[in-house]
Symmetry: C2
Subunit: 291 residues, 2 copies
Amino acid sequence: MLKQYCRERAALVDRELDRLVPLAGNPELIYEAMRYSLFAGGKRLRPILLMASADTVGGDGETYLHMACGLEMIHTYSLIHDDLPAMDNDDFRRGKPTCHKVFGESMAILAGDGLLTNAFEVMLSQPAVDHEVILAVVRDIAIAAGARGMVGGQVVDILATGKSLDAETLRFMHQAKTGALFKAAVKNGAILAGANPRQVLKLCEYAEQFGLAFQITDDILDVVGNQDKIGKPVGSDNKNGKVTYVTLYTLAGAQEMAREAVEKAVAALSEFNHKAAVLEELARYLITRDS
Amino acid sequence: MLKQYCRERAALVDRELDRLVPLAGNPELIYEAMRYSLFAGGKRLRPILLMASADTVGGDGETYLHMACGLEMIHTYSLIHDDLPAMDNDDFRRGKPTCHKVFGESMAILAGDGLLTNAFEVMLSQPAVDHEVILAVVRDIAIAAGARGMVGGQVVDILATGKSLDAETLRFMHQAKTGALFKAAVKNGAILAGANPRQVLKLCEYAEQFGLAFQITDDILDVVGNQDKIGKPVGSDNKNGKVTYVTLYTLAGAQEMAREAVEKAVAALSEFNHKAAVLEELARYLITRDS
C-alpha cells in the first residue's frame, strides 16, 4: 500500500512542480538549473509527509499541494547549496552530477536562491485555506528553514567537519539541519487540515522521532549502503571526517537506536488508529530503506 | 528635510533589525555573519521607500516596519551572494571587507540563505495589517526577489559579463536585478496603507523611473565617484568588462538620461501634492548623490 500511495503522491508533486517552475522563464538557464535539481529523482518525502499528515487528521492531503511543493523547493535549494565546492564539495547526488558540476558555481548558487525565494511565492498562493492559517504555516516553515533551523544546522555541520563532536551536538545539528523541515512538514500538514492542538502535539512527537530515525539510517547507509542505490560514494562521511551515529555508537548501536526511534514514532500515532497507516508505514520503511 | 526624515527612518530600521536578528542565536557565528553585512552602513533606501510610499497615500509608514526590515534583509542577502568569489568576486563593499572575506565563503553563502529565509518570517509577522493584504504583499515581494526578478537579473548580469550587451538587455537586467525590489518597496508600501488602484499605478510609474535613475547614477558613480565615499574601487565595472549606461551612452548621455528619469518619476507624483514631498526629494537626490 505504501509504495502505491507514495508513487501517486510523488506523481502529483512532480506534475505540480513542473507547472510551478516552468522552463519558459527568462533567462531560461536559471530555470534549467532549478529544474535539473528539482527533477533529479527526489523521493518527495517532505511533500508526502505533509499530505499524509493532513490525511491522518481527516483532511484531504492533496488540497495542500502548493505547500507540499514549496517544501520540496526549499529542500532542493538546500541540497544545491550544501553540495557547493565551498560547502561539502560533492560531485554527485542521487547518481547524477550535482548542479554546480553541470551549470557552474554561480548558476548553482542562483538556482538555490531562486528555488528558496519562489518557494515562498508558491506556498503563499496555496488555495482553499484560510489566510490566517496560510500566514501561520508559511511563517513556521520559514523558521524551520532559517538560521534557527536548516541553515543553522548546516553551519554547525560545516564548523564540525574534521572535529570531534559530542552526542548532544550531533543530535542538535541533525534536528536543525534535517529534523526541523520534517517536523514542519508533518506539523503543518495537520494544521492545514484543521487538527486540534493535541493531534498536532502527537504528530510533532512522531515527526521528531521520524527525523531522528531518518538521520541515523542515513548514516548507516553511508557505511553499508549500495553506491548504485544511494547515488553517491559509500563512505563519504568517513572520508570527509564527519562524526555520525555510526562513529559515535557503532553500527549495531546505531541500528538499535534507529529501531527505537521508529517504535517511538509509531507509538505517537496510536490514537489516530488506521488513519495513520501511511505515516506508520513511512516510519517503518526507514529501517528497511536502501536509498 | 529629506536628510532628517531619512536619518530618523533609518534609525528605526536599524533598531528593529537589531531586535529581529539578534546575536543570541545558536550557532552564534551565523548571526555574526548576518549582522556584519546587515549593519555595514546601508542607507536603508528600500525600507525608507516603502514607508515613504505609505505616508504618501495617507498612511503611517512606521506601522509597516516589519515589511520594511524584511526588504532590507533580502537586499543584504543579495549583496552577500553577489560579492561571492563565484559571482562578482568583490573584496570590498561600502568601504568594508565583504562578508566572505571576513567569515569565509561557506559562512557567507549561509548568512545570505539565513537572511533571505528569515526575511519571510519577519514580513509574515507584520502586525496591524489584514491577513489577506500581508499574503498579497509578501507574495509580490517574493516574485520581485525571485527568478523572474532579482535572481533572474543577476543571472543575466553574470552571463553578460565580458560580452557586448544591447540597450534593451541592459535595461531588462537592471529592471530585474535592482528595479523589481525598488518597485516592490514603493508599490507595497502603498498597498499596505490602503491605496486605491490608481494611486498604486502612479507610484509604480514613479518606482520604475526611480529604479532606472538609480542604476544610471550608479554606473556614473563608478566612473566619476570618489572611492572613499562609494566604498569600493572606482572603475570596477570597466575592470570587470561590464556594459553600463556610461559605456553605452557616454557620460554626458547617461547624465541626461538620469535627469530625464528623475523628471518622469517626479511627474508621476503630481496628484499626491505635498504628501509626496519625500518621494520627490528621494528621486532628486539620486542626481546629486556621491555614494
